[in-house]
Symmetry: C2
């Protein structure tokens, strides 16, 4: 479809609204007006109602609490009353006709009957989906009819794609509740918390959406952590790869597993703010189209609390397999490594201290055996890792120079550097005490 | 022993002279005057006579040629005549009394009798040792009586230390020919080429030398390759660790295995120039004593011809053991890796193209299996690795900034960075076409 100006317009948008976007009847009204702004928004994936104010409780938490009480044979009516009140007040505020009271009774009976934790938790999205479908006048598709899990709770990707696209083939506007699905035998299973993002991505892929809109309570991603940088700039455009590098290192508003279905299907994800519907948010795509100018860096993220296992061994470089043996020691203890800077006769393994500490002495002893008589192993702690990420850094000669000059001016000592051949990021290691100063130095160098 | 000024003087120096330092009778005279300059130079390890002029032949090469001809049943008299002439001319020039003619006859008979290649090659040092011991009036100790090898040709380190230190316990000035030793049953075995350096280090350790002097035809190490940098600065002081990093990356005047015995025994090695006996050369030590000022960088070295195996895999970072599996593929094919820069969901393995190429397709296929359906693997070639090494870089905030600024000004794109926690070196990867320009940029930034 072409509009008057001859540029293509979006034909099909899948929207996912988070818990804060559906916390009460006022938020439901915002959702409807957002959908009315753009008629190609034809699919909606709701989360369960979230917090209306900071001390409020999320419906999903209340449902888990009810299940927990019921499974111990204790009364849960008090907790369930809070759930009932949330849904009834939304239905009343919007004058909805759907018989939500009966649906709530069935959920209460299901909990009392000893249904699974997954089933209980999933009812938050299920009930919310019933309300929003009624409010919009859209079809309701139970996610148990479209999202297929294996008996051990793993998503069956191909089967889900087939079932969902068949169910939605008629292209009627549809509400599909987030967070859950069912096994072939009909047992409800959920994703991990925040999994409505995944449902949205699966629906977007199934209908071949042009865009997957993920509506939250923030206007997309920020270039740096606002607890460290005051009022950081917003990221208007980011690639899936960049986002993955950043989200590995810091907080994210998106469930990690939610990126892959849409990424692989070539569908961009747009993070939007329900409370600022005209803000363009952050567009996540495989290859940002028609970039007139790319900022040098896209974002900065980091973590404190890494340990460095330093291994020295005479003639290590002449010994094929030594590095593999060191990694085997960690693998045997289920400790993932983050970075592996190497010198001649020395290698460092950077791991999260939290992952290392339970097996710390054991790891020292085992690697100690590998270097016995001809080397040494030691662990130093309190290292931060900071990733500076940007597709604008590729083939840009000056980025590393600017980054390290900024750190030098701030008198920060570099403990580690790792830049892979992707050139998409530069990783630096600094003392934990230099963590915030490093992010400041890099941010102000590149953003101002 | 204390001299008048109250500072300690050296009590025992072990000297090793290379082939060019013993190429003819004029060079023998230089060696004697060097020994006379410092009476604590009490041990001498000679190589076999080397080249007197660029197109000359080394005695060791001639001996291997004789053995090769003899083993094919072909006459080798012509080649042996050249050997005989070398030794006889030195003996004549110095008016030596030792019966070198008979010793040469015995060697010729040994070659004709089918003695091993190791035995034949070792005679170069053996005969040279006879000459220099006679010239100096020192005792001659056949290395077969002091250096012990296993039957399969590996140095028996502890046994050698015991036997050598017993043989030299009387502290009489002694000549020990380099390059060879013998098994317990008396079979002569040699080190790899250049192995006289190792003999010298073993003698230095056995007698507890204060310094191991390695006399060559250069005045120590240079900060950069003189084929790239015009008249590079000399390195006056370097640690064993720094030298190992540099020599792994570039040419070296020292056999790699020669560093460990003295390094571990805490004995410094002094690289000296036989043709400039008053030049202090390069002092290699564990911890350089009393450094008033340390230059920021000690040296720069690099190599062309590396390949980067880039592996991408969804959620790689969540999969403990993936990195180890990739290294296993290389280990199974006996390919050592040089660097391992990692991103999120991506890792690069940097290997020498020469080592990779024979198994290139096989490696691609095997790693391809590891990422099947959820990732990719590719190889890019023509990367150079350049190591900038310096103990002065430790805790120096500005080094990385200066290095990358210099590269940026030269418009060189950085393909890879690896700095381990030792902070002793920064490794950069650049295109082969930028190799020389990178060394120029770094050298002139730090040295001027």
């Amino acid at each position: 479809m072409l509009n008057d100006g001859g540029t293509s317009v979006l034909e099909c948008i899948v929207t996912k609204f988070g818990g804060s976007s559906l916390a009460n009847d006022e938020q439901f009204k915002k959702v409807r007006s957002i959908l009315e702004l753009e008629p190609t928004r034809q699919y909606l994936i709701p989360s369960a109602p979230g917090k209306r104010f900071p001390s409020d409780e999320k419906v999903t938490d209340l449902l888990y609490a009810c299940h927990s009480l019921a499974s111990e044979g204790r009364p849960f009516a008090e907790e369930f009353r809070k759930i009932r009140e949330r849904y009834l007040s939304i239905a009343a505020g919007l004058h909805l006709k759907v018989d939500i009271a009966s649906a709530l009774d069935q959920v209460e009976q299901g909990i009392a009957a000893g249904n699974s934790a997954d089933w209980c938790a999933s009812r938050g999205e299920y009930l919310c989906g019933l309300l929003i479908a009624d409010y919009l006048g859209w079809r309701f598709l139970d996610a148990a009819e479209g999202i297929v899990f294996s008996e051990n709770g793993r998503l069956l990707d191909d089967e889900t794609q087939a079932k969902l696209s068949a169910a939605l083939a008629d292209r009627k506007p549809t509400v599909v509740p987030g967070f859950y699905g069912a096994t072939r035998s009909g047992e409800v299973r959920t994703f991990s918390r925040g999994g409505s993002d995944i449902t949205g991505a699966l629906v977007a892929r199934a209908v071949g959406a042009d865009v997957y809109e993920n509506w939250t309570d923030v206007s997309g991603f920020l270039m740096a952590d606002p607890r460290i940088i005051d009022g950081p700039a917003e990221i208007s455009s980011i690639t899936y790869k960049e986002l993955r590098e950043l989200s590995h290192m810091g907080a994210s508003v998106l469930h990690e597993d939610a990126m892959f279905p849409v990424h692989r299907a070539g569908i961009p994800t747009n993070i939007r703010n329900t409370n600022k519907p005209y803000h363009p948010g952050t567009m996540i795509s495989k290859n940002p189209p028609n970039e007139l100018s790319v900022p040098t860096i896209t974002g900065i993220a980091g973590h404190k609390g890494y340990s460095v296992i330093s291994v020295e061994k005479n003639m290590m470089n002449s010994e094929v397999g030594f590095g593999r043996k060191v990694l085997q020691v960690l693998e045997d203890r289920n400790i993932p490594f983050e970075h592996l800077p190497t010198g001649i006769d020395s290698m460092c393994v950077v791991v999260a201290s939290e992952a290392l500490n339970p097996a710390r002495e054991d790891v020292l002893a085992e690697i100690g055996k590998l270097v016995e008589g001809s080397g040494s192993v030691s662990i130093s702690d309190q290292m931060s890792i900071i990733a500076t990420v940007g597709r604008g850094m590729v083939h840009n000669c000056g980025t590393a120079a600017r980054l390290f000059s900024a750190m030098s001016r701030a008198r920060i000592n570099v403990r580690m550097i790792d830049q892979g051949s992707s050139e998409l990021s530069i990783i630096v290691g600094v003392n934990d005490s230099d963590f915030e100063a490093t992010i400041h130095a890099i941010y102000h160098e590149f953003v101002g």
